[in-house]
Structures are given as C-alpha cells and as structure tokens.
C-alpha cells in the first residue's frame, strides 16, 4: 500500500514538473547521433547525480572508514573488475562503512560500499571480489533505476530520469529528493526483487570467472553469512535479500548448467589477510 502511495505521489509530481522548454528551436535539425548521444550523456549524468544523493544518505547512516590502505585495496579489486566488466562510461568509487553490520550497498552511478563487518567475515580475496561484483552487477543492470521506473523500456532516457531530474524548479527538486529517499529505503528496508538479486548473483559469478577467481568462494561466503542472519548482525541483509538458501540453490544450478565447477580459480588469501590485517 505504501508503495502505491509512493507511486501516486511521484506520478503527480512528475506530471506537475514544469517542462521548461530549454528545447532549441528547430529540433528536427538534430540528427540521429545528436539525439542518441544527448540522451545517453544526459542519462548517465543524471544517474550519477541521483546515485550520489543516495550514497550521501548511506554515509549519513554509517560512518566512513578513513583508512587509505584498506580502501585502496578494496578499490583496486573493485576497479580492476569494473574496468573489465563494468560500464565504461562510469567511474566507480569504493568505500568501507565503519560498522559491524554485515552488508554491502551499491548506489546508482558507481558508488559501492562494503561494511567492515562483511570484510571481517570474508576469508580471502575471491570472496571480496564476489561481494564487489554483486554490487557492480546492480549498478550495471541499473536495478534501482529500473525499479523506480526512471528509465523507460526502450532505454531512451528522455522520458525517464533525464526528464524527471532535468528541471531546476522546486517541484523537480522535491521529486528528486523523494526518489532519492525511495532508493535509500529500497537499499535499507525493502530490497530489490528476488529476480534482480539472483541476476546480480549470476552476473557476479560470471565476473569472477572472467577475472580468474575461484567461483566456489562465492558460495562459501554465502554459507558463512548464515549464522549471522539469526544473530542480527546481518539484519538488514536478511530483510533486503532473498533467503540464503534460495540464492545458494539458484547459484548451484547456474554452476552446474555452465560447468563452472570444473574451473580452478585463485583465492589470494595471503594478500587479502595482509591488506586487511588491521581490521
């Protein structure tokens, strides 16, 4: 029901936005490449701007861990994966949240967070790669943006995010802020759909294979989460993600189907311990 009201509220705002015609005269002159790139660029820009607001809220909830060495380690692993399998037009930022809670978050536009609690639970670099890849997949697949219907189905962002967030009027600002809150709530309370999470799991596993990591470590990490779900350290995670058993089962099927179990990957346990020893 609350979702319904949110949607209604949003629709009203979107409709009431003043579409100030910054439209240049003679728009028919614009050639296909102008329109295409304009939409793409504007869309990406708005997506980053939007995601930045969500990221600031995540950091409003959890303090950031200002340890340059640890952050640089996480960031290099994440950037290395993103450079090969992420969206080339985005610059990705990685942060460690200073909390014992076990979770990881991705805000649209390239902002990825992993908690100190989650890092402590991990045993090796492959597990870190797994968690970061999962978050990267959310950004790459624009799960939040799509769920908020900020992007239209034909991927022309004119009718989507760019148009909603394009206005500089008060109502546009309010609409943006409401959307930001919705995205934040989705991360913290409601979660994405089961399908999106399963999709992110699979994509993450593909990323691990492509970058040479041990795919089994993904499952090991999921397994190690289980006792904490009951203890409450992963309360948010259990609220926002499908059950571990379900994710485990879906991934197992995926592994068998694609013969991933036959692949030998690296774990880089020593390097992981060395960089994150101070935790």
């Amino acid at each position: 029901m609350r979702q319904f009201y949110n949607c209604l509220f949003l629709s009203i705002f979107i409709v009431s936005l003043d579409f100030v015609s910054s439209a240049e005269a003679q728009e028919y002159r614009l050639r296909a490449h102008h329109i295409f790139w304009k939409n793409q660029e504007a869309g990406t820009e708005k997506e980053i701007d939007f995601g930045r607001g969500v990221a600031a809220k995540i950091l409003g909830k959890y303090p950031i861990l200002r340890d340059k060495q640890m952050v640089s380690y996480v960031s290099q692993i994440g950037t290395g994966i993103a450079a090969q399998l992420g969206r080339p037009e985005l610059r990705y930022y990685f942060g460690i949240l200073d909390t014992e809670d076990i979770n990881a978050y991705a805000a649209p536009g390239g902002y990825i967070f992993v908690t100190k609690g989650a890092l402590k639970l991990m045993r090796n670099e492959a597990q870190l790669a797994a968690v970061l890849s999962h978050e990267l997949a959310h950004i790459d697949q624009k799960h939040i943006v799509r769920k908020l219907k900020l992007e239209s189905s034909d991927r022309s962002l004119t009718s989507g995010i760019a148009q909603i967030l394009g206005g500089a009027t008060l109502s546009a600002k309010i609409a943006l802020e409401r959307l930001n809150d919705l995205a934040f709530k989705m991360l913290m309370e409601e979660g994405l759909s089961k399908e999106d999470e399963a999709d992110a799991d699979q994509k993450a596993m593909e990323m691990m294979i492509a970058t040479g990591y041990d795919a089994q470590s993904y499952l090991d990490y999921l397994k190690s989460l289980k006792p904490h779900l009951e203890q409450g350290q992963a309360k948010v995670l259990s609220k926002t993600h499908p059950t571990i058993d379900l994710r485990y089962q879906l991934l197992q099927e995926f592994i068998v189907k694609n013969e991933i179990d036959k692949i030998q990957g690296k774990k880089n346990e020593k390097r992981f311990q060395q960089y994150l020893a101070a935790l």
Binding site: A56, S72, M207, A210
Partner: protein
Amino acid sequence: MHLQIQFNSNLLSKNYRIHIVAVIIFLFAPFNTTLIAKETTGYIKGLGSALREQPRISSNVLKKLSRGTEVVTKETKGIWQKIEAEGSQGWVMRGQISDVPVRAKKSILSQKISLKSSSGKRVRLRTFSAVVGVRGLVDKKGQKISPYQTDYLALEWMEKQPTDEENSVQFLAYTE
C-alpha cells in the same frame, strides 16, 4: 574507354542528365529505409578482453580486444558469446559486450556549486542533489522533505581516493 566516351557524348545531353539526377535521388529514398538492414553489433566494454578459440576459460586466447571495438555478435552458449571482430571469430564472455557504443567516462564532479549551509558557513558542493541535501530541502508547508541524514564530506573524501583502471587490472591479475 573510347566506346564509353562515345556513349556519353551521344546520349547524355545536359537535360537528359538532369533527369537522371532527379531519378536517382528519388530512387535512393526508398533504398534508405528498406534495404539497409541492421546488423547486430556489440562493443567491447573492458580494457583488453580476451577473444578465445572455444567457449571455455581454459581455451586459447586468440587476441585481446581493446575497449570500444565493434564486434558482430553471433550465437550464444550459456555465459559465452560468439563474436566476429577484427577479422577473427571467437568467444568472449557475454558480460564483456555492450550493445551500445562505448562512451567516454562521465564525471559530474567538476561542477561545484557554492552556497551557504544552514550553519551560515560558506561551502562548496558538487552537484545539485548535494545542494538539496545540505540545505535540507523544505516543501511549501515548511516541512523537511527528507527524514534521512546525509554526509557529503565523507562522500567527497571517498571520491578523492585515487583509482587507476590499468593499474587495478594489473593488481587484480596477481595470483598467489
């Protein structure tokens, strides 16, 4: 050669040629929309994606394809995608291909907006949503729109940490 010139000079008077001009222009119009069919093209997303002989991670690497390379996508096999690029056929992982052309990195961080924060201190922030976040946007009734806290200083610290794609890819390639 001589024959052709004969043909030109005899048949193609000035008026006749103008008609041909007109006819070709109009002939070209339907050609535009119907005959040029779209091919399924994809683009390499990553820095140096391996093109493999077989759809297996252990298979031979034929060559490395650089970011933005245009490829023709063929059949798929699970997580593998057969492509043709730069004259060779092979397999890449499907996650390495984008269906839209690769664009330059977009950053919105150069846009700084100055404003006075609620405490009266002059701050410089990036992006419009940051401004909204710090000001604590209020609606027409004077109520705060968002109930959530923000921390843009922490965010800016995070954004300032250096990253380098190529170095990171090398760092990632390390195996114990």
